[in-house]
Homo-oligomer: 340 residues x 2
């Protein structure tokens, strides 16, 4: 791959990203000061190398998956975020009132809006939350709400109907025992310690301990299971992209976009999980016709993922710059707030 060939591939990818139309040899002559035949010769090589493809024998060239990959790895210039893009995101961070997790969601909404791609936020309170306390709030004689709170400020609640043979006071007493025994326990170890340590204790002190025990066990379990939130913005935005101009394709994609929770799981072995990741086409393990650009974040005891879903022909450098900017801003806010 000499320099001209690199430049040619770069040009093909970028023109295709802009126009969504197969790139012919003539269109590139002027840029490279040579004839279309020369371009064609070089294109033939790039095609042999697997970086570009033809839709049919006499069509212009389209980047292949390998071509995009080569592009993002070696050819793409790290573009600085543009002023107008930055401006729109800055407004969000200017407002210090906003909780960080809300700020993230807002950011991704804006990114979807300005880019016409689909954006996703997957938040999950992470393992490094520790139990701070569990409160029981009695609504009446046979209903209680258990409120679980972690040291990072994540709170989850669950309501229970008490059977007639259970007294509210016994539930409260149990909560006190749990608080004494388990404060500071990492949230994902709570279930185990409940079973091994707490159960024997309340067995001795509480009548009907099984029922009461289950209330708390369920509440903690809910916390671990439930405490994730998904925000998808602009599901329909991606349909505006010209590649999705046929009914079957549209339906297929709409169906897949129903559930995007898989995004956090995509992983290619030896990766550094905290970098911006680009999954092109099949690499996404989602759909051969989309690219997913993803960044994991960790703030305030919450692990999460932000991602943008677009066509393979998406504006890679712009999205990368946008995600980088958001991440940067999050980092600086973390320091300022003194959290994490």
């Amino acid at each position: 791959m000499d320099e001209r060939r690199n430049n040619l591939l770069k040009e093909i990818v970028e023109v295709y990203i802009k126009t969504a139309k197969p790139v012919g040899s003539k269109a590139l002559c002027s840029k490279f000061n040579c004839s279309s035949a020369t371009i064609r010769n070089e294109m033939a090589v790039l095609e042999d190398l697997g970086y570009i493809e033809k839709n049919h024998i006499s069509s212009g060239r389209v980047p292949s998956e390998a071509g995009y990959r080569y592009y993002v790895e070696y050819l793409m210039e790290a573009e600085k975020i543009t002023g107008s893009d930055m401006l729109k995101l800055q407004k969000i961070f200017a407002n210090n009132e906003l909780e960080l997790s809300d700020a993230i969601t807002k950011c991704m909404e804006i990114i979807s809006d300005i880019t016409n791609y689909t954006s996703v936020v997957l938040g999950k309170s992470s393992a490094d939350n520790a139990l701070l306390q569990v409160n029981i709030i009695a609504l009446n004689d046979n209903q209680v709400v258990a409120v679980v709170c972690t040291d990072k400020g994540n709170v989850e609640n669950k309501m229970f109907n008490l059977p007639n043979n259970i007294n509210v006071n016994e539930v409260i007493k149990t909560s006190e025992i749990i608080n004494k025994m388990l404060v500071g326990t990492p949230i994902n170890e709570v279930s185990r310690r409940m079973e091994e340590e707490v159960k024997p204790v309340i067995k001795r002190q509480i009548r009907q301990y099984e029922t009461v025990y289950n209330i708390f066990y369920d509440a903690f379990n809910d916390f671990v299971v439930n405490n994730s939130n998904i925000h998808v913005t602009g599901r329909a935005k991606i349909f505006e992209q010209p590649e999705y101009n046929d009914v079957a394709e549209l339906k297929r994609l709409a169906n897949k976009l129903e559930d995007v929770s898989f995004i956090e799981k995509v992983s290619h072995d030896d990766d550094d999980e905290n970098e911006i990741k680009i999954y092109i086409g099949d690499e996404s393990e989602f759909d051969p016709n989309v690219t997913i650009i993803r960044k994991k974040y960790h703030i305030n005891g919450e692990d999460g993922t932000i991602a943008v879903i677009g066509p393979k022909r998406m504006d890679y450098s712009r999205i990368v710059s946008l995600l980088e900017y958001v991440d940067e801003k999050l980092d600086s806010r973390k320091e300022k707030d003194g959290k994490d």
Copy 2:
């Protein structure tokens, strides 16, 4: 409208619901024991009355909006829910563990699944919740979580960063004042009473009362604003319906389905809000090409709406029977649990 004409319209609507193809006169001869010419004559009358339409001068007939309306009002037979449909929903209610609001969501997921329409659950803790208590949980010296709980067991929480000049104890003290003064206040009056009654009191007792006041004010406000949840299932399901077979239509609908919160607001004046409502086409105030069937529910201090979105040509009686069944089951569970 004599009987034959009614039957003819009923047949046209039902055949069209089944086949999604315009119904011609020949197809109905056998059913009515007469020639196609006779049917045509009657059809001409139904068309004059505005109940059926032609796509073009020589096509079969399609029910008009007025035709569907006439059908659901006078012709549709209240169908009992089928055994297999019932069976699928019963599984959910068999599990008494499930909180009612979760059971509703599950039901609507199943309904979307078995009917291939889009289903929606819009829940909102209603005005008839009263403040039970507000708790302050201190995470550390400068972070607190405010937990607001109502008598119906709805809980909302919000984390705050305290400025350096505010002491946690002052926040807690304020929470005690609020608890004393406002317990039992309907949740939508809390803001007003905070401003009119609580503010003057804490002004006297708390340094930096403005900041502390705002924490609670925000927390309550969040409760009112935030405490709604939307579940949409099968957004893409509706695309399988044959009427949405062109790209523009699909995109338009996908876009609209991004936000379905409007559904609870659709209302036609003198209606009894608690009945099953059918909004056909333009009546839906959403999209001329869909029908929305909706039922409002009230359980356990939560007001909500369940709805099914489908083509105008949707299976009206089946959906009505399904929603009726769900509503019935909810009612019986309410009584059993002794709630509400």
